[in-house]
Symmetry: C2
Subunit: 542 residues, 2 copies
């Protein structure tokens, strides 16, 4: 027997419709490519996203056709989020930090029909458009009078002219909530990039779960700054959860430097910000150098890669900002865990709380996890046993788009490629990437643990630990270090800094000072490239 | 094109499975019918709800068969919530405050197969069981040694013996998320009671929306006291949202008096409580008389009927507890609106904030509203125009169970029977029930407005406004008043109290002092009965 409840599909269009009706005056503030600050409301974004839908109809785009973006975080990108998906097309957020050849390959693999891009990325589009054979329409996200005359891109239109020609009236269609809504390619350290193909249903359930108090806790009283790019797993779903709750949105545009981000937080009274550690590192550096404080920021979610303990301490102790460590993946929409405390932790000492905060956190409702050993047998949740982390849930992929290699699932579980522990309270801690873990004498050494100790040294700006071949131990760790500007630390001083902080056999065999550690398109350290950089290096202990 | 995300049905069993796995040590505290305090964990509730599922299998109950309860808020009732719905049967929470004849009629209409009841309700069950022809199994929610020997109920089993004979191992089945999960009959002031038949999907989406920061804001850091009964629209969904978030649950059992509720709040460090105004009135009375304070309570949600402004002020000003005014209906699962503030309200003065807090609140995500005039034309959201309130959303009914009178929907919208205004920010305020509004000389007078003024008088414990026939004005309001114990106020003093607080023509024509105002099964004032009580009353102005 079925229940007798109203039948409504879970569709992304319902988010912007709700925001217009219940939070019409809610603010969207964007720093634009032009450098100025632009202000609009949910009502205006809703109206303009309906124009986008009409404009896509006018281009005769079919249901599920892909519309690509190469764009920073801003109101026009937000309008595309709702206009493209809401009208039944698939929003494909391209990562502009990838190599132009990769971007070209991705647009062809995705069969993108339209490309909307910020003028910052005109050089990329100029370089690739002739090879992007599936793309028939190019839209520059700018006013009509800013459109470059000599782009060489046939039929290039300005976004404002494109949607300005359309009506703001549009009736959002209803369709199967399992229909594809958006897609995102993983950076793909090995092989070709692979895409997660999200559905309206998965996006909506993720928006619900992500807005809960134990996850990102979003409300109409929040002012939210997604520093994490909208081309990086839909800015962790923040644009959707914000529309669901009517939170004020503040978009940084291209200005991701510490000073610009800090000024935006203060100027717009941001209460909640989200981003990867590298961005916060820059901002904290700027603040420390200039002796600045926050006046409104209360919480920050840090994810994308493991957050160094020193950063959590700095936010918490120096600035009174609660750091929520989070973990997820492109294949997970992306939210998997958030490190919020439980009832019985509230009475713990600051030190004991910090021990919990260092973990990646508890599974948010909807995400189930397990850790398994090399044979696939489930390991206990005791905070000690570590093994390959597998996840499942309604916003986790079942297959990659055009999954040439077959389903990645193992008995219905998605293998994350991370190695982790889970404690009795369900708090998960990544100990390493499966491919980065260092196997020394039959024991595993977590490269992240080794890095975190180095990062706590006052002279260290960034540190990356990799394993080096060793005749006796198989592999031994070394630490590659970038010093802070003007700071000094010797190899011996840094190795001595490890004494008492970890087991002797987990102390790296050597320190290599480098000018920079290679970062990938999403700000993560690229250890493959670091290994290439150090290919002539010889381990002194070998 | 469909997305490529894992396919999972939204099922109630997933809530208790999640709570067991991620909040296994989370506490469930219950005051029992026996008077003692019982403590258990989500892990134990999960295990025992699997025993319930096995016990229902052993009774050969089919998918969608109804299992009825006559029970207070407690851990055994919670186990039935998950065991009955999770195994594919329909949980039917009977309201013990209804007349036994009504309960009998309802069990037959619902075709209940099993009845689980607290021993408090043994007299009811004894009185009706011979007539409840569809019920084949009776389970008393007690230990085996507490089972009454002489009940006269054939085959009566104790709950503990019933589930104790079963295994705690059970694999929750997967099925269509639109399947019926639970049902609740409306108190039915006119005609026969009618039932809302909830689905797993509607219950899960309601649990998500209800737990959001702008609704009830539930987290693993909360200790939640549902004073609202589990037989009253599933205690507003709190048992589901609590399992979703791992909140500690505290159940009051049958002890709903002010002293017992206060002691439970203090003893269990409750942070958040939810109930109808009448219960809070008793508790505030007890606290004021004994000079007590709260040490942990931060928020209370008040719904079920309009909350008198004086109560909001008392909670807020005297005790520092934030009152969230809420509104919903059995037909709405029940949450429709919650009165949480927005970003731009935070800087308002306490007086201006109070003006907002008096409203029933904003639609939570998923609920859409409109107000219409007598011809069905939509009225503006200006906070002034008032009309019939209609709602729609995925946790609002499309039909009543066995809906003999056809679908209640009007063009897809459910007519609430309330009259309301909605302001430009989406805040809805009930001005009356359609049937209670007083039509005086072509103008409408809100009976609730008239009551709220009387309730603010220090000598008034309860007040009900009804319309009386008037030869010239069609109807004129009178106010029926229950004085506080030992307090005195005259008719003239009370009428003078209205001066300056409302328009002259909205001041009641008379005051009638009564010993009590009749309350219905859910604690709401029954104006139909009040009108019967006053059938010989003559309006002095007529």
């Amino acid at each position: 027997m079925l229940g007798l409840m109203q039948s409504q599909q879970l569709l992304i269009s319902s988010l912007i419709e709700f925001a217009q009706r219940h939070h019409g005056e809610g603010e969207i503030v964007s720093r634009r490519v032009e450098g100025d600050i632009h202000r609009c409301t949910y009502r205006e974004v809703a109206e303009r996203s309906r124009r986008v839908a009409n404009a896509l109809d006018a281009l005769k785009l079919e249901f599920s056709d892909r519309v690509a973006t190469l764009a920073w975080n801003g109101y026009r990108h937000l309008e595309l989020y709702f206009g493209v998906s809401g009208s039944g097309r698939v929003l494909h957020t391209l990562n502009p930090r990838l190599h132009p050849d990769q971007i070209t390959w991705i647009t062809k693999h995705a069969e993108d029909r339209v490309l909307c891009f910020d003028l910052s990325f005109l050089p990329i589009v100029k370089a690739i458009h002739a090879r992007c054979t599936t793309i028939k329409h190019y839209i520059a996200l700018c006013d009509a009078d800013k459109l470059p005359a000599d782009s060489g891109i046939a039929g290039l239109l300005s976004y404002e002219a494109w949607i300005g020609a359309q009506s703001g009236n549009y009736r959002w269609p209803s369709f199967d909530e399992n229909s594809a809504s958006s897609m995102c390619y993983t950076s793909g350290t090995t092989g070709n990039p692979k895409a997660a193909l999200y559905s309206h249903r998965s996006t909506m359930l993720h928006a619900f779960a992500g807005a809960l108090p134990d996850a990102l806790s979003m409300s109409a009283r929040d002012t939210v700054l997604p520093v994490v790019p909208m081309f990086h797993v839909n800015a962790w779903g923040l644009p959707y959860s914000a529309a669901m709750t009517g939170a004020k949105l503040v978009f940084p545009g291209p200005a991701m430097d510490g000073k610009s981000i800090y000024e935006l937080i203060e100027g717009e009274r941001v209460s909640f910000a989200a981003g990867v550690p590298t961005v916060w590192q820059m901002m904290l550096g700027h603040m420390q150098a200039a002796g600045l404080r926050f006046s409104t920021l209360k919480r920050t979610v840090i994810g994308g890669s493991a957050c160094p303990p020193a950063m959590i301490t700095a936010f918490n102790d120096l600035y009174g900002v609660e750091v929520l460590h989070a973990w997820g993946m492109t294949e997970m929409s992306p939210l998997g865990t958030v490190c919020t405390l439980k009832n019985r932790h509230l009475a713990l000492s600051p030190e004991e709380k910090m021990k919990i905060r260092l973990k990646q956190g508890r599974g948010i409702f909807g995400v189930d996890m397990k850790i398994v050993d090399g044979q696939g047998a489930e390991l206990p949740w005791d905070g000690k046993a570590f093994g390959d982390l597998l996840v499942r849930g309604p916003w986790i992929i079942s297959d990659y788009f055009k999954g040439e290699e077959g389903s990645p699932l193992i008995d219905g579980w998605f293998p994350t490629g991370d190695v982790a522990t889970i404690d009795a309270d369900g708090y998960m801690q990544i100990t390493d990437r499966s491919k980065d873990v260092i196997k020394s004498g039959g024991e595993w050494i977590s490269s992240i643990d080794v890095e975190n100790i180095a990062m706590a040294h006052p002279s260290v700006a960034m540190a990356a630990c990799i394993g080096m071949k060793h005749p006796k131990w198989d592999e031994r760790p070394i630490i590659a270090v970038v010093k802070k500007p003007g700071a000094e630390v010797s190899r011996e001083e840094l190795l001595a800094f490890y004494e008492g902080k970890t087991a002797k056999w987990q102390i790296p065999d050597d320190v290599v000072f480098v000018d920079a550690i290679p970062l990938g398109g999403t700000g993560k350290m690229q250890k493959t490239k670091l290994r290439e950089m150090l290919k002539d290096y010889r381990l002194p202990t070998a």
